[in-house]
Amino acid sequence: MAEYMSMNTLRFIIHEMLQVEKLCALPRYQDYDKESFDILLDSTKAYADKALFPVFKEMDEQPARFENGKVIVHPSVGQIMKDSGERGAIGSTFDYEVGGLQLPHVLHSAVTHIAQSANNSLPGYTGLTGGAANLIISFGEQSLIEKFVPKMMKGEWAGTMCLTEPQAGSSLSDITTAASPNDDGSYQIKGQKIFISGGDHEYSENFVHLVLARVDGAPLGTKGISLFVVPKFRIKEDETLEPNDVITAGDFQKMGQKGYCTTHLVFGENDNCQGWLVGTKNKGLKHMFQMMNGARIDVGLTAVSTATAAYHASLQYAKERPQGRRVESGGVKNASEEQTPIINHPDVRRMLLLQKSITEGAIALLLQASLYQDMSEAGPEEDRVRYHDLLELLTPIAKTYPSEMGRVSISNGVQVLGGYGFCTDFPLEQYYRDIRIMALYEGTTGIQSLDLLGRKVIMKNGEAMKHLTKEIIETITNAANYDDLKPYAEELKNASKQLQEVIMHLVQYAMKGEHERFIADATVFMDFMSTITIAWQWLKMATVAKTALITGNTTFETSFYENKIHTMRFFFKYELPKIHGLKVTLMRPESLTILEQDQSILA
């Protein structure tokens, strides 16, 4: 079977870099130890090899579609729901009391990485189900929890998140789906939701939709949005199911992730759609953010995993494809020699190292963010807020960097294959199509960037940024203990200083009341800050690798650790210097995109 991810890199990050074993000292995770984590990772890989990877291409060739009023999906969707329920994979991070296994989030993310690398169309179905169940548990009344959650965790019922409407995508404040109170405490739901992932198919007995809607008379904007649980089938007194007036109007046909259905749902067309309020009235968007934050990390994981699989496919090809000859000293080529595998050409190697540095750097960041989540929920009381702030700050980056740079990474993977990269005989073109959605759903890159600069960087008077800077400085200090890492530590120190400078510069606009100006180049800022963030992760990895080599305390071959240091150096030579150009753009006083003139400038 083709390699689609590196278990050793995953183990290295989990155990040696993040030392997740330390979590087991916390009361919440005391039932775990290193061995249980290892067995979990290995068995997930075995499952992915057996059930997920083999249908990856097939799901693209037989896309989800709408036929005769029904959404048709690949039968593997039924299988993964059933298997995940049986394996305890849905809601594995939940408390024991609600049937969860209190698995640390960082392990859940590691497991997701394996599954998504094998097949990025499948794990979303179970991920959404877990996310929706978690929302009901966190904010719903006990009766709702009892009614819906157990079946969802067993994989019998599926969950979705229903935010988007035709006129309200990025701007959720404009949603119009209405909720009118019934006498029994439930609500009549009426409205349309589009682009709903996993919204309907034949393999789940029921669909539990978590729907954002407005209660009659609610204030305009985000402060008037409430959250409802709206099942496809209502549960009658005798536990049997009856239709709840949720109609599937279609399935969007897409350029990628074709196995993952994207439905158009109509609620209450016949005025017979019942929903139940989850949490507090008019606080729905705030509640939904819990699911959205988790989903953002999941999208980041899906993106990096897709790019990881593409990297491994292109690496394998590069080792096997003979083409051309190396230019020897003196600039000659010996035409009588056999052709060399393309992996030996510096330019191909550059493309491979670029992919490796982007994908491994991004996995490290995502797992780091997930570890912060664990610490924010189960760490020492006094540290929780700090870890929560770090998670909040890093979430938009952890979603966006893999989605944007993962696409660049896969594009380089396609390039490694030459013309074959463009052909359906090889999986690269599919990965390239599949990853494109990641920068769009769960908040576009534009929206993530606004969140990063306009909200997170300045939140609590820059408190979260201070925590991040402290983490970066700790990494720099550790790296500087080794002579050969010192120059890189210096570079990161300098980059971190430039980050402060740029923030100070931009914040001035906000202080002057020029808010649009402040956020106008938020996406450029995202590129700038995320490059520095990944450099931080790489220096951390390299320092851990260096320590292992020096102490001889190694789990993997020596070359494995040397490769990590080499890839860090690659990132610092080829990627990090981009921040200087980005800084010039960010600091330049000219304003060219704000609507000062009319749109004719684009003519």
Binding site: M7, R11, E35, D42, S43, E320, T555, F556, E557, F560
Partner: protein
């Protein structure tokens, strides 16, 4: 029904194989280990199926150092009830067989399962030796097995066909592909495994009759040669002169 399943660890199939100490020892540096697939997928799972159908218990046994505990724990996560590790370096097949036979004798098992071979040394020796030391029947390369009362009907893959044998307990059986289907541990199983008993027993004194004096890697595979589809003559020449297959 008391069932004993012998499990061993082997290098992951992608591990780079190298030797040290002048080619007399396997270089373990950087090697990741897995449970021998014949033990895990077939021997253990068939034992679990028998237990589930007829009641009883499944015990794992391994001869090795504490670093083997991860592999043993995986067996517990898949469903075995308990495990024993004999705390000794598995120096040779006979040494290992003597340790296991000694434990099996003291505890009394109805069936002792093992994989047909370990995928590293491919010796297929240990299970046969255990049967001999216990003085019970041995059925190798079992690809199917049914149990009625205390009589098992076992199919063995043989050259060009299948042999069906009957055997009464107690016996030793080595598992080949087909005996069962791989089970992947679920998360609850993984958590429960930590609480299941893993007993560590000191080895008995046992002679070691063989000694490895050297290992060699097989010659490297030559690279793929691409031949122009128009150039059939060259293909025929290579197949006949280089590959020597025609």
């Amino acid at each position: 029904m008391k069932l004993l399943v012998c499990v061993t660890k082997t290098p992951e199939t992608t591990a780079k194989i190298a030797f040290t100490a002048n080619g007399t020892a396997f270089d373990t540096n950087g090697v990741q280990y897995i449970m021998n697939p014949y033990d895990e997928w077939y021997a253990l799972v068939r034992a679990l199926e028998l237990k589930e159908a007829q009641g009883g218990s499944v015990c794992l046994i391994n001869v090795g150092s504490p670093s083997n505990d991860t592999v043993i724990r995986k067996g517990l996560a898949i469903g075995a009830d308990e495990a024993v590790r004999i705390n000794a370096e598995p120096k040779s097949s006979l040494y290992v067989a003597k340790q296991i036979a000694n434990y099996a004798k003291s505890e009394g098992f109805d069936i002792v399962f093992a994989g047909k071979e370990s995928i590293d040394y491919n010796g297929s020796e240990v299970s046969a030796m255990i049967a001999e030391l216990l003085d019970v029947p041995f059925i190798s390369y079992a690809s199917h097995m049914e149990l009625e009362g205390n009589v098992a009907t076992v199919s063995r893959d043989i050259e060009g066909g299948t042999e069906v044998v009957e055997v009464a307990t107690p016996f030793v059986i080595s598992a080949a592909k087909g005996l069962a289907e791989q089970r992947i541990p679920n998360m609850r199983g993984i958590m429960m495994a930590k609480r299941k008993p893993l007993k560590v027993v000191e080895p008995i004194a046992a002679d070691d009759l063989t000694e490895a004096v050297g290992y060699e890697l097989p010659p490297a595979k030559s690279a793929v040669k691409l031949i122009d589809p128009e150039n059939m003559d060259e293909l025929v020449r290579l197949l006949s002169e280089e590959a020597k297959v025609i």
